[in-house]
Symmetry: C2
Subunit: 219 residues, 2 copies
C-alpha cells in the first residue's frame, strides 16, 4: 500500500504541528486524542513520538507522558551554534566543489528571496529563506548534515512562528544571503565561512531583539 511507514508519516505530521504551534511548547501529547485525530491506533503513534523524542522535539517524562519542548534564550543560542556548525560546513563544501548545478540551485533560491522582498510578501520571504537554507545543506551532498539540519530548522521555525513571521530588517537579510552565495560562487572558502557565521550572528540578534519587543520570556 504505502511506500512509507505510518510511523514516518505520523512523525512528519507531528513535526509540522509542533512547527506551526498547533502543538504548543510545554503541551502534553495525549496519546488517545492524537491517535483519534490522526486516525491510527496508539501503537504507531507511540512509535512516531519516540522518533521525535530522539530528535529532541519531545521530552519524555516516564509514567507522566510526552511534552513539547520549550525553548528559552539559551536554547535559541544553541540552535544557532549548531546551525552555524552545520551550514558553515555545508557552505564550505559547496565552495570547494563548485558543482555548476549546485551553484545554479543556490542562486535560484537566493533570487527567490529577492523576488519575495520586492513583492513585499513577508510570508513568501520567510518560506524562501528556509528554502534557501534547505538547498544550501542539501547541495553539500552530506546525508548526515542534512539529517542534523532538519531538526534544527523545525526548532528555528518554532521560534519564528512565535513572532508571526515578520522580519525586522528584510533588506539586510536578503543581502546577507546574496553575499554568502557570492562568496561560494567565487570559491572563497574562508570568506564563505565568515559570511555564514556573520549571517547566523545577525539572524540570532534579530530574533532575540524581536523577542524582546514582544516581551516573551519563552518561545
Amino acid at each position: 500500500m504505502h511506500r512509507e511507514s505510518t510511523a514516518s508519516v505520523i512523525a512528519r505530521q507531528l513535526r509540522t504541528a509542533i512547527m506551526e504551534r498547533t502543538l504548543q511548547p510545554g503541551a502534553q501529547l495525549s496519546e488517545t486524542a492524537l491517535s483519534a485525530q490522526f486516525g491510527v491506533s496508539r501503537g504507531p503513534l507511540r512509535e512516531a513520538m519516540q522518533r521525535l523524542v530522539q530528535e529532541g522535539l519531545l521530552r519524555s517524562e516516564p509514567n507522566r507522558g510526552l511534552f513539547v519542548i520549550e525553548l528559552d534564550e539559551a536554547d535559541i543560542r544553541d540552535i544557532y551554534v549548531a546551525r552555524t556548525a552545520v551550514e558553515g560546513a555545508a557552505a564550505t563544501m559547496i565552495a570547494r566543489a563548485r558543482v555548476p548545478a549546485a551553484l545554479r540551485e543556490l542562486r535560484a533560491a537566493c533570487d527567490a528571496m529577492t523576488t519575495s522582498l520586492e513583492l513585499g510578501d513577508p510570508a513568501a520571504l520567510s518560506d524562501a529563506d528556509f528554502h534557501f537554507h534547505d538547498v544550501l545543506v542539501q547541495c553539500s551532498g552530506s546525508r548526515r548534515l542534512v539529517r542534523m539540519h532538519q531538526t534544527l530548522i523545525v526548532e528555528t521555525r518554532m521560534c519564528l512562528t512565535a513572532l508571526e513571521g515578520t522580519y525586522q530588517q528584510p533588506l539586510e537579510l536578503v543581502e546577507e544571503h546574496n553575499q554568502i552565495v557570492a562568496a561560494i560562487e567565487a570559491g572563497d572558502v574562508k570568506l564563505t565561512l565568515k559570511r555564514v557565521e556573520l549571517h547566523m550572528d545577525e539572524a540570532l540578534r534579530r530574533l532575540i531583539h524581536a523577542e524582546d519587543d514582544d516581551n516573551q520570556a519563552y518561545i
Copy 2:
C-alpha cells in the same frame, strides 16, 4: 520504578549491539527474536527501533523489516565531514570560553590517552580516544552538538570495531590530540579549528588505509 523509559533502555542496548557488531551491518532485526532476547514485548522494542531509524542507524523497508545500515567509503567520509563540523564547532567554543574546569577535563582525557599509549594497551587507547572526543563535545555545553555527536560516534565505532581496534600510528594519533588541547588552552581559535580539521583528515586517512589493508569493501 525506573527513571528511564524502557524504549530508551532498549534503544541504548541496540545501539551498543550495532556498535560492537553483535548486530552486523545489513542484518535484519527480527522483532520476535530481539523482544525475547531483551525480555520485553514487541511494542516497546518497536518504539526503540524507531528511535534508531530516526538516528539513521537502522534503515526501514516498509512491510519488509528493519536493517542495520551498511557503511561504504562514501559514508565514512560523510561521517568525518559531519564530525569535523560538530567537533570543530565544539573545540572553538571551548577555546573562546576557556572555562578552567573544561580545560582540566580535556587535559585529563588527553593524558589518559598518553598513559594508554605508554602502557601499550590498544583497547584502552581506543576507549580513551573516544572518551576524549566525548569530553570535547560535552565541554562545549551545546546540547544539540552533543546529541548530533552521539550518533556519529556510534557510526565511527562501527568502523573501528570492524578493524578490531588496532591503530596504525598511535603515536601520531596521541600527538594530534595533544596539539588540539594545546591550541585550545592557548585560546587560539583559528589554530584550534585547523588542528581539529587536520586530526579528522588524518583519522579518516588512517581508517581508509587500514580498510584497504584488510581488503574490505564494506564496513
